[in-house]
């Protein structure tokens, strides 16, 4: 069964066809990867799925319910969370408050309660604080909880962004280049980590990544994009030997050998 189905997605920016009829499926609990050269439309797919862009054509459904056309916060509430290629944390909030802000949609007290500091407010805050602490601990960020996000080292920022995404309790997590800027040992840890959170939270994950070791190492299924279209899909083994993929990445061998 698929949790996410996108069919015939098209998106133009002026004269540029960023997406040109993209079909995509992610199964329940599946770990899928999306690769493709720079500018091939991968992040645009994420932006269309999460409602940041409205597709010109095509539909996206989540668990059978149509979500394309909904605003981002509604899509988030229906169960899709994401991270961003160029880390978008709330930079002047503490690590703790970054996660707590993402707990807001489930807040159990009203604004009047907050101003009056009612019992409901205190109970609600305790609940949010505990949930945020659990997530920070899972990411070994508990000792950093009071540090401003912008003062965290790069690796911690990447992890905090995933922690914030998990705060909304998604069914599908979209990771946009989670390993960008990481060295080999950090990538190794990240791979283990992605597998762990998938099992723990019973998530489906779709990730964009350029580090082939990560994509080939943990993804069960891979989608390859080029010029706004899906040019191949399959298991890592199938993708590695697909001539169209090799062509997209390395170019075509010229006929006369020049």
């Amino acid at each position: 069964m698929n949790i996410l189905e996108a069919s015939g997605l098209a998106k133009n920016f002026g004269g540029i066809k960023a997406l040109n009829g993209v079909d995509l499926q992610v199964g329940v609990g599946e770990l899928a990867g999306m690769i493709g050269p720079n500018g091939s439309g991968k992040t645009t797919v994420f932006n269309v799925i999460t409602g940041i862009y409205r597709p010109d054509r095509g539909t996206v459904t989540l668990g059978g319910k149509r979500i394309s056309g909904l605003p981002p916060h509604s899509i988030s509430r229906l169960g899709i969370a994401r991270t961003f290629q160029n880390i978008r944390l709330f930079r002047n909030l503490s690590a703790m408050d970054n996660v707590r802000a993402a707990c807001h949609p489930d807040v159990r007290y009203g604004p009047i309660s907050a101003v009056c500091r009612s019992e409901g407010f205190h109970a609600g805050e305790r609940e949010i604080r505990e949930k945020a602490m659990d997530l920070l601990s899972l990411f070994s960020l508990q000792d950093r909880r009071d540090d401003l996000a912008r003062n965290l080292p790069y690796g911690d920022q990447r992890r905090l962004e995933i922690a914030r995404a998990l705060a909304s309790e998604p069914d599908l997590l979209l990771l946009d280049e989670p390993a960008a800027g990481m060295n080999a040992s950090e990538v190794g840890k990240l791979m283990e980590f992605i597998l762990e959170i998938r099992t723990r939270y019973k998530l489906a994950i779709l990730l964009i990544e350029h580090q082939m070791r990560l994509v080939m190492g943990i993804c069960e299924r891979i989608v390859v994009m080029d010029f706004g279209e899906v040019i191949a899909r399959g298991t890592p083994r199938e993708i590695r030997n697909d001539p169209r993929v090799i062509e997209a990445y390395l170019g075509k061998e010229s006929k006369d050998g020049k």
Binding site: S76, F84, R88, C116, I128
Partner: protein
């Protein structure tokens, strides 16, 4: 409200109540110069309005250049109610102030619905435009309601605002702002300021909360305007023009965006400096204030671009829930 909550409110308001009592006794005994008592009240009122703009710009990140218009709506609204039906009733005065705040909130909601889809710079232009429109409305208000006075100014407003009212309202709004900011709702507002796209992706309804932040901030201005109207018992459209919006904006930026302590100190500093220089400078040189103050602003912004207080808050304005 439970016992604990009431106790928290009482503890917070106690110093304000003490100050209100002391101020009332001192001023009615004639121990202090009435002129400075009036200036002190103006500082309290300005702080309430500036606190509202800080919610809008400092915490939610919405650049508004029309704050004085909402201050004016509250001022004219409350004054009209008192003038037509209030007499000297304190209870009616309180109700008029709240009605002025509600009126400002309602107009803010309507303005926000149409302008808050704009991003920062454009929002600034739109609110600037609204401020100018409201100035024209105030100028010509006598055409539809003669009591409002139009360009000649509104007279016949009872002098109701006293030290007690000004100080207690300042305390109450500081309490409300602090508790709102240090709650899940406050975090949602700040998240929008920090990164609207990420806030949306985290499930926060950014438009709804921008609108809410704007309305709440403008309601502060509305109540403050009502207090102002009954302090001087005279309203003139020039009290609510674009330059008055800039005054509040400068207070908020000087104090530090998203910093309540800074807004409080900068409000008092601004008002007392303005009036203090009026006394200190020889009469022919009073307009030199508009040379000295901008120089001071430039120097402050160069030395402390994060505002006077940065991210530090007075103890009583910190998060009390932890």
């Amino acid at each position: 409200m439970g016992m604990k909550a009431l106790l928290g409110l009482a503890r917070f308001m106690a110093p304000f109540a003490a100050a209100a009592a002391a101020g009332t006794v001192l001023s009615s005994a004639g121990a202090v110069n009435m002129y400075w008592v009036q200036i002190f009240q103006l500082a309290c009122i300005t702080a309430v309005s500036a606190l509202g703009l800080n919610v809008i710009y400092g915490f939610t990140g919405l650049f508004s250049l029309g704050h004085a218009a909402f201050y004016g709506i509250g001022a004219y609204g409350a004054a009209l109610l008192m003038k037509t039906g209030g007499g000297e009733s304190q209870a009616f005065f309180l109700a008029s102030l709240l009605a002025g705040g509600a009126g400002a909130a309602l107009i803010a909601w309507l303005v926000g619905l149409s302008t808050l889809r704009l991003t920062s710079d454009y929002l600034g232009i739109a609110t600037l435009g609204f401020g100018i429109i409201m100035k024209v409305v105030f100028d010509n208000a006598d055409a539809f309601l003669p009591q409002l006075g139009g360009a000649r100014g509104m007279t016949g407003i009872p002098k109701m605002t006293g030290v007690a009212w000004a100080v207690m309202f300042l305390g109450a709004f500081l309490f409300a702002a602090r508790n709102l900011v240090h709650s899940s709702y406050g975090r949602a507002l700040v998240a929008i300021r920090e990164d609207e796209v990420a806030a949306g992706a985290a499930g926060i309804d950014t438009f709804r909360y921008k609108l809410a932040g704007f309305v709440v901030g403008c309601s502060f201005a509305g109540v403050a305007g009502g207090l102002y109207a009954h302090l001087y018992a005279f309203l003139h459209p020039s009290n609510f023009d674009f330059f008055k919006s800039v005054d509040v904006l400068m207070i908020v930026v000087l104090g530090g965006l998203g910093n309540m302590s800074g807004t409080l100190v900068a409000s008092f500093g601004w008002i007392f400096l303005l009036e203090g220089l009026r006394v200190a400078l020889p009469p022919d040189y009073i307009e030199l204030r508009w040379v000295l103050i901008p120089v001071l602003l430039v120097v402050t912004m160069l030395r402390r671009p994060q505002g006077l207080f940065g991210i530090r808050e007075f103890r009583f304005l910190r998060d009390a829930s932890e």
